[in-house]
């Protein structure tokens, strides 16, 4: 016999799994530190690539004067400035990533907690049905 309460609960669970459950499940497989650390590493790589593209564009933009001034300018201080700007840019982007993904992780954990509670309720319903059948 089909239990309506169980079907309703399973429908709710399946609906969640089809929708935002997919993303939250991926988040749920990581510990908080691992998940945020992974996203920060990805952000650092993206920011580095972007910074490289921007520097290359700036050099191409001003290529004539750059090539003519390269022997005159202080390369060490120029490189130091580039590194300082890189650290500020990547550091700022990483902090934004850290904050954003912390919030996302916390929200996903709340939804996952509800999901696991519903799974426990489903398990309890199954056990109750088995007991009823035995009687």
């Amino acid at each position: 016999m089909i239990s309506e309460a169980r079907v309703k609960l399973m429908t709710r669970l399946a609906s969640y799994e089809q929708g935002e459950g997919k993303e939250n499940a991926e988040i749920g497989t990581y510990f908080r530190g691992d998940y945020i650390g992974l996203q920060v590493i990805k952000s650092v790589i993206s920011a580095t690539i972007c910074y490289g593209i921007v520097i290359a564009t700036m050099i191409l933009y001003d290529s004539e004067s750059f090539l003519s001034d390269i022997y005159k300018m202080d390369i060490v201080s120029y490189a130091k400035n580039m590194i300082i700007y890189y650290v500020i840019f990547v550091g700022g982007y990483s902090i934004i990533t850290y904050i954003l993904y912390s919030i996302r992780y916390r929200k996903a954990r709340i939804k996952l907690k509800t999901y696991f509670n519903n799974l426990r309720r489903l398990q309890a319903l199954y056990q109750k049905e088995r007991k009823d059948r035995v009687r």
């Binding site: 016999m1 079907v7 429908t11 399946a14 089809q18 993206s46 982007y93 954003l100």
Partner: protein, 492 residues
Amino acid sequence: MIKLLEIREYLRRFYSKYELYIVPAGKFIIALLVFLLINGNLGYMEKIAKVPLMFVLALACSFLPVSFILFFAAALILLHTYALSMEVAAVVGIVFVLIFLLYLRMSPKEVLITMLTPVAFALHIPYILPITIGLVGSPASVFSVGSGIVIYYTLNAVTQMSNAIDSLDSEKTASKFRFIIDGIIQNKTMMVMIVAFAATIIVVYFVHRMNIDHAWTVATIVGALTNALIVLVGDLMFVTRASLLGVLGGTVLAIGVVYVLKFFMFNLDYARTERVQFEDDEYYYYVKAVPKITLQETNKTVKKVSAKAPVSDKPKSGGIKAEKTAEKATEQTTERRVKKESSLEGAASAVKSHSSVVKKSAGTTAHKSTSASGSYDSLSANDALLGETRVVAEKSVDEGRVVKKAANPAASASQSASNAGAARSTSNSRIAGDLAGRRNQGQTRVRNDGYAGPNPSVGMTNGETIAERIRRERLKEAESIDADRLRRQNSD
């Protein structure tokens, strides 16, 4: 006003019923609009600037995720700019890569906003965007809108400088490169727009979440004023040559459009019909969950349709009375209930004639189609099979609206039951058997579809249908009227 409310309810029901077709159609329209605008404004490569090709691409995008529209749009833009000049394509490509790596990587869901921003600018209705996004989105949407503004002004710069780029010597790559980047970076209008839209989104977001009366209206007006103020101040500071009439006219139009959108979106839940599949040890389940459409009103008058005179409050100013008389409504309800019960009996007999034993093994598949309400809490399956229809007149005192709501949980259930082919399983015949017992028990049950009246099953005698009960009560009433008349005649 009532007509508008009815149109709104119709739209909600229409969306929840046909959501499966509306979403791909919407994606098709947006994709086609984006591709046609790109071809219209750029269109340097004639081989791909063909309308049938755009239709085919838009059709493909209607079945793919939304991010594919942006992908195809970016590809089209790069091809057109490559036809103009390789340096232009390189600069536009760099802009796309930066936006993707820095922003879209973190918020892939906001691709639609990034795409709609240049479209709104191209259609000369940009001021609608920040107010709408502030009302329905979050402050993080500032980055999506900013990306969209950068894309629009980049392409605008390319369009405006296309003649000059053509005239430049093809060997002078560096000068072309510098020319295009200057056109993008030194565009003060773009900076002013980014600042104005960002401020508007943030202001609208925080104002509409405040605990004040008419928060949405106040947020719309404050947002529109903020936007207009920043654009005009930026025009004074940087001489962006923004037209005063254009800004003010666009702002007023934006307020009007947002007001219309607010009417259709505020405090409404455009819930979708959900189709899920799951299995357990005994069955495979194919479930269609249809949301119940209810309108949240502060003051409700529930009109019970029965054999007795209906109980209803007097309408206050601005309200409209329900036009049906009690008897007419009773007859109509009786007809509906008789029809529903006959369909139930027909279904039950069909089930019995096509009975098949459901084997409790994993190898046998039993199709169970059921409708569960969006709330999952009420016994909607049984209600659906009972086929009860209730007409409820609701009235809002404040706004003087009357919305007629027909709570008909049977409609979708009967539809899905007919789709399943009259549910050929013994489980359904068992449910029909349960129902025959439930009718006589007069159980109270929790409903969350707004019906607040007593259980109509209470007071019914054994084996009696609802129609029979109504007939019995009307006979009793007629008898009492006759008895009163006789008594008066005798006393005279």
